[in-house]
């Protein structure tokens, strides 16, 4: 069986699983905005005026959602961190004339670095790149390169 033979129902299941994982990763606000944007797009299509059938097939919704999520994760990639440091250091200095290169977030009185080592957005970006290539029929590496994160196989 190949993914091109997946039914709309199967793609819908994969899409819903993807959304659930995004929410379980803590990104509930992002998911809500992404779904609002998808709904806007469906509503704005001329043909949607005449019926209530979404004009975006589930695989296309999944493709857009996953692509947008990959871009979302880039905000905390290593490349973004290094670029922000360089840009900020060139524009902003302390009163003592030193470049400012650190950025923190105060959460309930505790300062946390924006870029932490608790997760691996770069690894996920790469994984999503392979996933999108599979959806686009470009590359089968998504299947071949199994992560060793340990799934339950359910």
């Amino acid at each position: 069986m190949d993914t091109e033979n997946f039914s709309d129902g199967e793609w819908q299941e994969v899409f819903e699983e993807f959304r659930l994982l995004v929410v379980r990763a803590g990104y509930t606000d992002w998911d809500a905005s992404a779904m609002d944007a998808l709904a806007d797009e469906i509503e704005d299509r001329d043909s949607a005026r005449f019926d209530r059938v979404p004009r975006l097939f589930p695989v296309e919704q999944l493709r857009r959602y996953a692509g947008a999520f990959m871009l979302f994760l880039k905000a905390r990639s290593r490349y973004a961190r290094d670029e922000r440091r360089e840009q900020l250091g060139s524009l902003l200095h302390t009163e003592a004339g030193m470049p400012v290169e650190d950025f923190l977030v105060d959460i309930s009185g505790r300062e946390r670095p924006i870029f932490t080592d608790e997760d691996d957005p770069d690894g996920m970006i790469n994984e999503l790149g392979r996933f999108l290539a599979e959806l686009n029929g470009e590359d089968g590496a998504f299947w071949d390169d199994a992560p060793d994160g340990g799934g339950d196989g359910a």
């Binding site: 699983e17 803590g26 979302f72 905000a75 840009q87 524009l91 870029f115």
Partner: protein, 233 residues
């Protein structure tokens, strides 16, 4: 290199494994996950703040940015008033004269709240609205009044939608009145994108969004003097 059966069940399992391995689903605590989501938004605010400084500098090359009250930029998970001794901020000088200050995560008083709201403390129930970044007049304290704001900036690291447009229009409506005017001499030194903005008090609002769809919503934004800017990653 293993060859996998291409079934939807296998695809879902593969996705679950990836989210576990790379994003800590089922490994990090709920608190850690929610904190990480906040950090993601702040990473985009940081990009927007740098963009604001870069645009201002390109528009007015003599501007100098200095971090006051600290050596690191500190964003606030929850917005609040300006506390000059508690939080770092960016002083902007032009030819040795301070012309403005950049603050992050600041609650600004709404037009509808009236001047008396400046002295109010505690939760204001809609009499103020948080802006991700504000450029205010030098020396502004507490929650800035509309006339103390030069520029408000919202940073949206997500797909743009009509819901976000409505939010922006609501904030803008409470920042300033729509007006054509010539009462202010050189009022828009901070507006690199327009010679004037239809607003009294003369302030601007910029919405940075990582999604290109924001540009589709330019027409209503133009009417209210909101600059819609696609700031991608």
């Amino acid at each position: 290199m293993a060859t996998r059966t291409k079934t939807s069940a296998e695809m879902k399992k593969k996705l679950r494994d990836a989210f576990r391995q790379h994003l800590g689903v089922d490994r990090l605590t709920a608190g850690q996950l929610l904190t990480r989501a906040k950090l993601q938004d702040k990473a985009y605010e940081l990009a927007a703040l740098i963009e604001v400084m870069a645009r201002l500098k390109a528009f007015r090359p003599n501007l100098i940015f200095t971090l006051e009250q600290g050596t690191s930029l500190v964003f606030r998970a929850k917005g609040g008033p300006i506390h000059r001794t508690q939080w770092p901020y960016i002083r902007i000088d032009d030819g040795g004269v301070t012309v403005g200050e950049l603050w992050v995560d600041i609650e600004c008083l709404a037009i509808s709240a009236g001047l008396g709201a400046k002295s109010l403390t505690g939760y204001l129930y809609g009499k103020c609205h948080e802006l991700d970044i504000v450029l205010v007049r030098p020396g502004t304290n507490g929650r800035p009044l509309p006339q103390e704001i030069f520029l408000g900036v919202e940073a949206k690291h997500r797909e743009f939608s009509k819901a976000l447009l409505k939010e922006l229009l609501g904030v803008r409506r409470e920042m300033t009145m729509r007006s054509r005017h010539d009462r202010y001499p050189d009022p828009f030194w901070f507006a690199w994108w327009a010679a004037e903005i239809p607003a009294a008090p003369p302030s601007g609002l910029i919405a940075f969004c990582s999604s290109a769809t924001i540009t589709k919503y330019q027409a209503p934004a133009d009417f209210w003097g909101i600059k819609m800017e696609h700031l991608p990653f």
